[in-house]
């Protein structure tokens, strides 16, 4: 019934190779985009922007980034928090050293800086794999956070080591700093997520993505058929770090406005992003988005139900919330080890045949 290909004739190659080949899927995609771009900014308030949607969008970028590296190229990384810190501190240095530079370019440049750092820490991936690589990236995590905490140049010699984002504008509208309108803050994040997710989706469908997946599935076989592991792995590290760096810059400049390296970019954040892509689904852009939504929104939903709806003590609610989030993660992984995106795919398959399953 839904998701049906019958009668949907592809007459050009472009039609045949589009991202959403099924008409219903495509319409749904445009509908979601329309709601996100045109409807949401009309009613969004500070709470929805600062506590719900902006964190979701920022974490989505980080999750897409890690998914490129781990989900598509098969290289496990525990350094996401450290790479986000690189993005954040690069963004801070650029914002304060070049006050005239537009914030969009600051954020993109932070991504480029992070991708350079990512390449350096990606070099060990040429020799080591799996858990050993995870440990090497873990070293990156600890080293980078230590560095930003230790060297005062990175935080402009402020007394406390905190960095605070000054106000910057896009088309005359503030998007960072305290006077930002919630819809402007939301839209700038949405723009980054849209462009980056679109880019990631198309990268992974193209030659580069196929090389990554070849390396992921079996690196020796990939090498034999002509995939250069050096290029494939390092490009995965570079592009993944670019995404993560942009996420770090957005996290610092647009979302929180002030961060300190140890708390905001600790090992917990690395695990959080890893959980996002595992729960959402490895090797899927939609999985990264839904995983970020799950990990960011689920605690808030539970908290509001328990304290707001049921009027529990905040401390009890927090303890219960920890347990429930943990249980939900297990339930989802037992129900579908390939993540929520796989559940979504199964649902789509079912809907295609519905109501005649045979």
């Amino acid at each position: 019934m839904f998701y049906r290909e019958v009668g949907d004739y592809k007459t050009t190659y472009a039609d045949d190779s589009q991202t959403f080949p099924i008409r219903f899927d495509r319409l749904r995609y445009f509908f979601v985009l329309f709601v996100a771009i045109a409807i949401v900014p009309l009613w969004i308030d500070d709470y929805w922007s600062n506590a719900v949607l902006v964190p979701f969008l920022v974490w989505s970028v980080a999750a897409i980034g890690l998914n490129i590296l781990t989900g598509y190229c098969g290289q496990i990384s525990l350094g996401t928090g450290g790479f986000m810190a690189v993005g954040a501190f690069a963004c801070y240095k650029l914002m304060t050293q070049f006050p005239e530079l537009n914030i969009v370019f600051c954020i993109l440049a932070s991504g480029i800086v992070t991708s350079a750092v990512g390449i350096v820490f990606g070099l060990p991936s040429l020799r080591i794999k799996g858990f050993y690589l995870a440990v090497a990236t873990l070293a990156a995590q600890f080293f980078l956070v230590w560095l930003f905490n230790k060297v005062p140049w990175f935080y402009n010699y402020s007394f406390s080591g905190q960095i605070t984002a000054p106000e910057r504008t896009v088309f005359g509208l503030p998007v960072t700093g305290p006077n930002v309108e919630p819809w402007a803050q939301y839209l700038i994040c949405l723009a980054f997520v849209f462009v980056l997710a679109w880019g990631a989706r198309n990268l992974t469908r193209g030659a580069l993505g196929r090389k990554w997946m070849a390396i992921r599935d079996m690196d020796i076989a990939a090498e034999i058929i002509g995939v250069d592991p050096l290029r494939a792995k390092l490009s995965a590290f570079a592009i993944s770090s670019f995404y993560v760096g942009v996420a770090g810059a957005l996290y610092f400049a647009v979302y929180l406005g002030a961060v300190e390296a140890t708390e905001a970019f600790g090992i917990n954040q690395s695990f959080l992003v890893l959980f996002m892509i595992i729960i959402g689904g490895l090797g899927s852009i939609f999985g990264a988005l839904i995983g970020a939504a799950f990990m960011v929104l689920m605690p808030i939903v539970l908290k509001n139900i328990l304290t707001g709806g049921l009027n529990w003590e905040p401390s009890l609610a927090t303890h219960v919330e920890f347990m429930l989030v943990g249980c939900l993660i297990m339930v989802f992984l037992i129900a579908e080890p390939h993540g929520i995106s796989q559940l979504w795919n199964i649902a789509k398959q079912k809907l295609r045949l519905w109501p005649f399953p045979h």
Partner: protein
């Protein structure tokens, strides 16, 4: 299918929406009763809530307006603190008390833009003592730099006015909180000629073996502690393990509660900590608390923290807030004040010895006045010492004044840097 999904979405949407506003004076309390910092968060939150319960029960609120404390759990996590801020902001709160330096840093620009005051009592961004730059931020009656200076002054007292050539070590929480005093201690070392060595401890602070090994090797004359939560008890245990003389080990006021020394037992005897406010339950106010709050079982939490150092601290914070509300009502002539009026009340707050005695807490805290320029108060503190046999904190000094000459210069420098970075025009001219 569709219908079910819509229902789920509607439910999720409803669950994400913040609760609606009500007509009372709302005081948000960003608590943390979970996680590694809960030993500090629980008693402080209980003291804060109990004092305001007393005000509601005994006096019918402040100026006839009931006070509602809205607790929001942050777990000492900055991102959660921001979420709590956004969630409670819709209820027209009067003033935020984050009880976390990290969250305070976060809220300063946001709350200033929203015209809601932030009161970081004895913590937060020290530069906020400069009211000409930080219009909506207050950190009276004392801040970290005062604390650092008080500790140094105490050492000076012990050494007949000279600590030339002494070695002082600072063991600190490796965050904005722990780093705050470093600058002041460095400035003071130039003035008094001691040498300062730094020992950062990463959060949450249960791993300090290597730092204390270094301290044992370096043999400093004094160790200062800037810790919070489980880090404090760990530090005192490690100090006892290397047999560091406890009377030379001085903590800031956030590192001097019963929860920090009791787990160490007898070996913590003699440990010193600064204090902002009176200790114990030997005040007339406690009779009222017993009558109106404890006996009818209206207290917050499980009641185990009543009368502890941090409980009194939370109570003191609530007291200063209630007095600021009274002042704001007096200035503006209305009882249902807004956050902007609250700011005026805080800026014109006058606490005298008579005020404190009248509230049933004689000699509990210093007398001070907040002005447009000075949001930081006098910075007076005491040094208290732990008696592990009697299990109580005793004051061993009179009031100690900080070296305001050094601190004011530092505050001016730090606030000027912030004003320039953020493009803030100075007030009070």
């Amino acid at each position: 299918m569709k219908c079910a999904r819509l229902t789920v979405f509607a439910a999720l949407f409803a669950a994400l929406t913040a609760p609606a506003a009500m007509a009372e004076l709302v005081l948000p309390w960003l608590s943390y009763r979970t996680g590694p910092y809960s030993p500090g968060g629980i008693p402080t939150g209980d003291g804060f809530a109990d004092y305001l319960t007393l005000i509601n029960e005994r006096d019918g609120g402040v100026g006839g307006e009931l006070i509602r404390v809205v607790q929001c759990e942050t777990g000492y996590n900055t991102a959660r603190g921001v979420e709590c801020y956004e969630q409670t902001k819709g209820e027209n709160p009067l003033v935020y008390q984050p009880l976390s330096t990290g969250i305070t840093y976060q809220l300063i620009p946001k709350a200033t833009a929203d015209k809601i005051p932030v009161h970081s009592m004895g913590y937060g961004r020290t530069a906020a003592a400069d009211g000409t730059v930080f219009e909506y931020v207050f950190n009276y009656p004392a801040n970290y730099w005062d604390g650092a200076s008080i500790a140094v002054n105490h050492m000076l007292d012990l050494n007949d006015g000279s600590i030339e050539g002494k070695k002082i070590a600072l063991v600190y929480h490796n965050s904005a909180y722990g780093k705050e005093p470093i600058r002041t201690l460095e400035e003071l070392s130039k003035k008094h000629g001691y040498s300062l060595s730094l020992y950062p401890v990463d959060a949450p602070g249960q791993e300090q073996k290597s730092q204390w090994l270094d301290i044992r090797r370096e043999q400093p004359d004094y160790v200062l502690l800037w810790g919070w939560g489980v880090m404090n008890a760990t530090a005192i245990t490690e100090a006892a393990n290397i047999r560091f003389p406890m009377e030379n080990f001085i903590g800031i006021w956030w590192s001097g509660s019963e929860n920090d020394v009791l787990p160490v037992g007898e070996r913590a005897h003699g440990y010193k900590a600064l204090s902002l406010n009176g200790n114990g339950t030997d005040y007339p106010l406690y009779d009222d608390l017993k009558e109106y709050v404890y006996d009818p079982e209206k207290f917050s939490g499980d009641g185990s923290s009543i009368g502890t150092v941090l409980y009194n601290r939370g109570m003191y914070g609530a007291l200063l807030t209630a007095e600021a509300i009274r002042k704001a009502q007096e200035i503006h002539g209305v009882s249902n004040i807004t956050s902007v009026m609250m700011r005026d009340g805080m800026e014109n707050l006058v606490i005298t010895e008579e005020t404190m005695a009248g509230l049933g807490l004689p000699n509990f805290g210093p007398a001070f006045e907040v002005t447009c320029e000075n949001h930081g108060g006098p910075g007076i503190g005491w040094v208290s010492q732990w008696d592990a046999h009697a299990k109580e904190w005793n004051f061993i000094t009179d009031r100690i004044l900080p070296d305001k000459e050094v601190i004011n210069a530092l505050v001016a420098e730090a606030s000027a840097q912030y004003a320039e970075e953020q493009g803030i025009a100075r007030r009070c001219q």
